[in-house]
């Protein structure tokens, strides 16, 4: 963990780009590892948090729970989570996945709760009045209306998880963090280059989900 602190020069960014070009295969491999870890964590996070958030929102129950989950989630430093994961699960793929799942759950849970909870009660009442079952109300009325907010939560979780998966390298998680924590070997240019790749990954994922967010957002109705 000794930092040799290469002299920073404006040329560092040029060197960083050169590092990326020269090691593109290696970096792509690491980016693949990081993406694999992140996707596993987000996937598991979705399975846990999405149904729970939607159901609680539908029942308008557990406001305190939903709010506390997001508060407590924010208070858990990622490095602490990863260290805890390492102690509990031992070195491997799952220690980091578990830590990142804990990070992914709060934004997804809280946003899906508030998305469904905030749907106009008149609309929900009207849907019930038309004879829709509770299930239909949730899937055909509340979910489509709340979807933009739900996806916004998934977007936040994704940026969080991809950026934090870097730290997983400390606990044997692989990924681009392997370069970022190893300035002694790769130099500052390597650190900067690899972190540009992380930014690119996170930005790319955020962009994709942003497009999805836009696609599901209701378009303003043209008024006559």
């Amino acid at each position: 963990m000794t930092l040799l602190a290469d002299q920073f020069q404006p040329g560092t960014f040029v060197d960083a780009l050169r590092f990326i070009v020269d090691n593109i295969g290696f970096l792509l491999h690491l980016a693949g590892e990081q993406l694999e870890l992140s996707l596993a964590a987000i996937g598991i996070g979705l399975v846990i948090a999405l149904p729970l958030g939607l159901w609680l929102g539908h029942k308008h129950r557990g406001l305190f729970f939903a709010a506390s989950v997001s508060n407590v989630g924010r208070a858990l430093p990622s490095i602490v989570l990863i260290a805890f994961g390492l102690v509990i699960f031992g070195l491997g793929f799952w220690n980091n996945t578990a830590a990142l799942v804990v990070l992914a759950v709060p934004p997804i849970l809280t946003n899906s709760y508030f998305a469904i909870d905030g749907v106009d009660p008149d609309i929900v009442e009207a849907a019930r009045g038309m004879g829709m079952s509770e299930r239909q109300v949730l899937t055909q009325v509340e979910l489509p209306l709340g979807l933009p907010l739900v996806i916004a939560g998934i977007r936040i979780a994704t940026i969080f998880v991809i950026a934090t998966a870097t730290i997983a390298s400390i606990a044997g998680g692989g990924g681009l963090g392997d370069v970022i924590v190893n300035q002694a070997t790769y130099g500052l240019a390597g650190v900067v280059g690899a972190s540009l790749c992380v930014s690119l990954l996170a930005f790319g994922a955020a962009l994709l989900l942003g497009l999805l967010h836009r696609a599901v957002s209701p378009r303003p109705v043209a008024s006559d």
Partner: protein, 238 residues
């Protein structure tokens, strides 16, 4: 990978059975090392976070006042903030070291940058949500611009601003643990040491739990401050 650097358990040979065998949690280690390891780290952590939030608040406030007057600024500031959040903190700290050295300044620049985003957004949003009629009636009843701002707009924006302060504080406490990668200070430092010393479990749990407890305590205290600053909110809710 930092983990596999050999079995160096603190006090090897002199420690208790639990410490030597790296048991799940050894209370005696916490007792023995509270004063030389955990307490200083906790104090440093509080100092790092407090400084970052105070400076971040001051800068964000000035930026928000500019942003309110010149709306053109909002786009660029928003994009910059989005980009900043995708940079892994681990890399940002290292990036600054060659410029500012292994100093508190390095850590503070990174921490303050991260707080700005939340604080700025919430300040703008809070101040903008004050209804124009309210401002107009304050001006109509003889308040000067400054008075209107201090006595009407600012109090009405306080809940949103305080929500931002809470988020910024808690995330700063969280990110400050990573700062130990470049600066041997704060609760992240014992954590990194324990990770290198063959994953010494007690130290990891103790330092980690302290960091979480600190964040939750800060959040609770700020919540109380928010209630004290906005007594009218309680009346409305009752």
């Amino acid at each position: 990978m930092i983990v596999a650097s050999g079995p160096v358990i603190p006090n090897f040979g002199q420690g208790s059975h639990c410490e030597v065998t790296n048991g799940f949690f050894c209370p005696e280690w916490v007792r023995d090392h509270w004063h030389d390891t955990l307490e200083p780290a906790l104090v440093q952590h509080i100092e790092l976070a407090l400084l970052a939030v105070v400076i971040g608040f001051a800068i964000a406030f000035v930026l928000a006042l500019c942003g309110l007057r010149y709306r053109v600024l909002n786009g660029p500031i928003g994009y910059w903030a989005d980009f900043l959040y995708t940079i892994p903190s681990l890399a940002l700290f290292q990036l600054l070291v060659p410029v500012t050295g292994i100093t508190v300044l390095t850590v503070e620049i990174a921490l303050v940058s991260y707080t700005l985003l939340v604080l700025y957004r919430n300040m703008i949003e809070g101040l903008r949500s004050v209804p124009a009629e309210v401002i107009e009636s304050a001006r109509g009843s003889g308040f000067t611009r400054t008075q209107t701002f201090l006595r009407v707009e600012l109090p009405l924006a306080t809940p949103t601003i305080m929500a931002g302060v809470r988020i910024a504080t808690v995330s700063t406490i969280s990110i400050a643990t990573v700062a130990a990668f470049v600066l041997p200070q704060g609760l992240g430092y014992p954590l990194f040491i324990a990770l290198r010393q063959d994953v010494f479990k007690t130290e990891i749990f103790a330092a980690g739990a302290l960091a979480v407890a600190l964040a939750l305590t800060a959040d609770a205290l700020l919540h109380l401050l928010e209630r004290a600053l906005t007594p009218w909110m309680r009346v409305r809710r009752a």
